[in-house]
């Protein structure tokens, strides 16, 4: 079934069809939601109601980790960190959850063939990048893609097997050197770009992970003058749909007096060009 090109943004009661722990404290939720599954693009997210009471009040945003348009399903990969994700985790397969989506502006996959695509994932930043690899493979072929996945330790590196099963190249970095490259994934990125000296203008980079990691990715990209670098940002979200202007990020805006303006992560992002972001 072809993807429906127009936005199907809406509010849907989605049946949870799978809820499984893929790694300690990391869960994969699969939901039925044909409109979302068929229109969502890589880097977009959904806003999930984790409670039917007024506490916690707000929805929780999660990037789409994979879409299965034929089945009408999509999946989320999430880390249990606080009250909301704990409640999410307790919802059982068979129950229905209210989901708003698909939301936000996702990744731009480029329009030049023969580009090299490097995907830099930190922790649960792997979720949208997993979907991105699907889309990149489909558009450009998996052989043009390298995934660099980082984590504190071997266990914290998410989706490694899934990336591998896509058939993309993957290299792993662990802070504690327990597996793969020893050190931050950004160190690995520098090495990988170094190996491609002279070819930088042919490289597109996509990144999602901790803020500090993405800032470093942006710095490396800027210095090595890669063609394009996109980062998927986070911020506290009240609405997720662009009406509250709560989730803003300073983005360069040469036409303004101060040279930047506040853009909404939920609507204008979450994916931004790294060059446009004012890193703090």
């Amino acid at each position: 079934m072809p993807k429906i090109p127009y936005s199907m943004k809406g509010i849907y009661d989605c049946e949870l069809i799978e809820q499984s722990e893929v790694s300690e404290g990391v869960w994969l939720a699969r939901l039925m939601g044909p409109q979302i599954a068929r229109s969502v693009t890589a880097g977009q997210f959904v806003n999930v109601q984790v409670s039917k009471c007024t506490d916690p009040l707000l929805r929780r945003p999660f990037s789409v980790h994979a879409a299965y348009p034929d089945e009408g399903a999509f999946s989320l990969l999430y880390v249990v960190i606080g009250r909301g994700t704990r409640l999410f985790q307790r919802i059982c397969a068979g129950e229905k959850i209210s989901v708003v989506g698909p939301l936000g502006t996702g990744f731009d996959l480029g329009d030049q063939p023969h580009t090299e695509h490097i995907v830099v994932a930190g922790g649960c930043g792997a979720a949208p990048l997993h979907f991105l690899c699907d889309a990149l493979c489909e558009k450009w072929g998996c052989e043009h893609i390298t995934v660099l996945a980082g984590g504190r330790s071997k266990e914290a590196v998410l989706c490694e097997d899934e990336f591998r099963s896509h058939g993309v190249d993957i290299e792993v970095a662990t802070d504690d050197a327990s597996y793969g490259y020893g050190g931050f994934v950004t160190g690995l990125l520098s090495e990988v770009i170094g190996q491609r000296k002279g070819n930088e203008s042919n490289i597109r980079i996509y990144s999602c992970g901790p803020h500090a990691m993405m800032r470093e990715v942006a710095r490396i990209c800027h210095e090595s003058k890669v063609a394009n670098c996109q980062v998927s940002l986070e911020n506290n979200m009240a609405c997720g749909i662009g009406v509250c202007t709560g989730c803003v990020q300073k983005i360069k805006a040469p036409h303004t007096q101060q040279g930047w303006e506040y853009k909404r992560v939920c609507k204008d992002g979450p994916v931004f060009n790294a060059e446009d972001v004012i890193w703090e």
């Binding site: 509010i11 929805r59 911020n235 506290n236 009240a238 749909i241 009406v243």
Partner: protein, 303 residues
């Protein structure tokens, strides 16, 4: 056959008593993805100032028990953008538009009001003298009867549009301020704006909002909002638009029987983008079930 949902707020004729809380609906564009905006009784757009305001630093929002704090700081693109970009979009819909007006000074309020006076599609102005998140102007006016009256009088002279004064709950005696606004020429009142609050991360020992304090909204504030709407509605003889924590049609009815002629759905839009239209349906259902012919039949009937 069928109940009459329509209400009047000043000279604004609303097809039903439901509008939205300023700042919780943007300028409508994003919400139009979810439903036909013509279904609403009115649309109250984000606070609009003379020049663009960039708003406060982030974090700007934080969740609290059954509520949230915001310190957006009235980020908006200014009146030119409203007139040239936002209004043409909104004019596509058959719905009165209320513009929430903010300013750092009395002059700014007046200038915004006079420039909006003749803009097609704008049915009323909501004078925001109650936003807790900007340093100058705004709430400074709204916390005294004199300050409120001064702004209302100024704006009143500058426009023929229906004037709604939006009241701050952060006061000892909201009735005296309400009365001052009416005496100064306000055609209607809306309340409540947010309650000033804060939140701290105990481990980092840091405020959770860059602005330190923010405005509390959502179900948590409903009891306070309802009390104030009741007090104000029984003391003044202009229509009141009630808001503060309305999530369901039942909540809306509470405000209406407390004395509100219309209600606004605010934070609920974030939790359920369909909230406003579901509330309209729920009000109709309530009136039908209870055998009332119109919304007016129940306004202020609590005992």
């Amino acid at each position: 056959m069928g109940v009459d949902l329509s209400v009047e707020v000043g000279r604004i004729r609303m097809k039903n008593p439901v509008t939205v809380g300023s700042g919780t609906f943007g300028f409508g564009r994003e919400m139009a993805d979810f439903y036909d905006l013509s279904q609403l009784g009115a649309i109250t757009v984000k606070g609009t100032s003379l020049e663009p305001w960039q708003g406060n630093d982030y974090p700007r929002t934080v969740e609290t028990p059954s509520g949230m704090l915001n310190a957006i700081g009235l980020q908006n693109d200014g009146i030119d953008s409203l007139i040239n970009e936002k209004m043409p979009f909104l004019r596509q819909y058959d719905v009165p538009v209320i513009v929430n007006v903010v300013g750092h000074s009395l002059e700014e309020y007046i200038e915004v009001a006079s420039r909006l006076d003749k803009v097609e599609g704008i049915a009323g102005l909501e004078i925001n003298v109650s936003c807790p998140n900007v340093k100058e102007g705004c709430m400074v006016f709204g916390t005294t009867p004199q300050g409120t009256a001064e702004v209302v009088r100024g704006v009143r002279a500058a426009t023929g549009l229906t004037l709604i004064t939006k009241l701050s709950p952060n006061v000892t005696d909201i009735v005296s301020i309400a009365q001052a606004a009416v005496d100064a020429g306000s055609d209607a009142l809306s309340l409540i704006n947010t309650l000033m609050g804060t939140a701290i991360d105990p481990w980092a020992r840091k405020f959770r909002l860059a602005n330190v304090t923010g405005g509390l909204s959502g179900p948590a504030v409903k009891p306070v909002a309802l009390r104030m709407v009741y007090e104000v509605a029984r003391s003044v003889d202009v229509p009141v638009i009630g808001m503060g924590g309305i999530m369901t049609a039942g909540d809306a009815i509470e405000f209406i029987v407390a004395g509100a002629s219309a209600i606004a759905v605010g934070t609920a839009n974030f939790v359920n983008p369909m909230a406003a239209v579901e509330i309209i349906d729920g009000i109709e259902e309530y009136l039908t079930k209870m055998g009332f012919a119109s919304v007016d039949d129940i306004v202020g009937t609590v005992s």
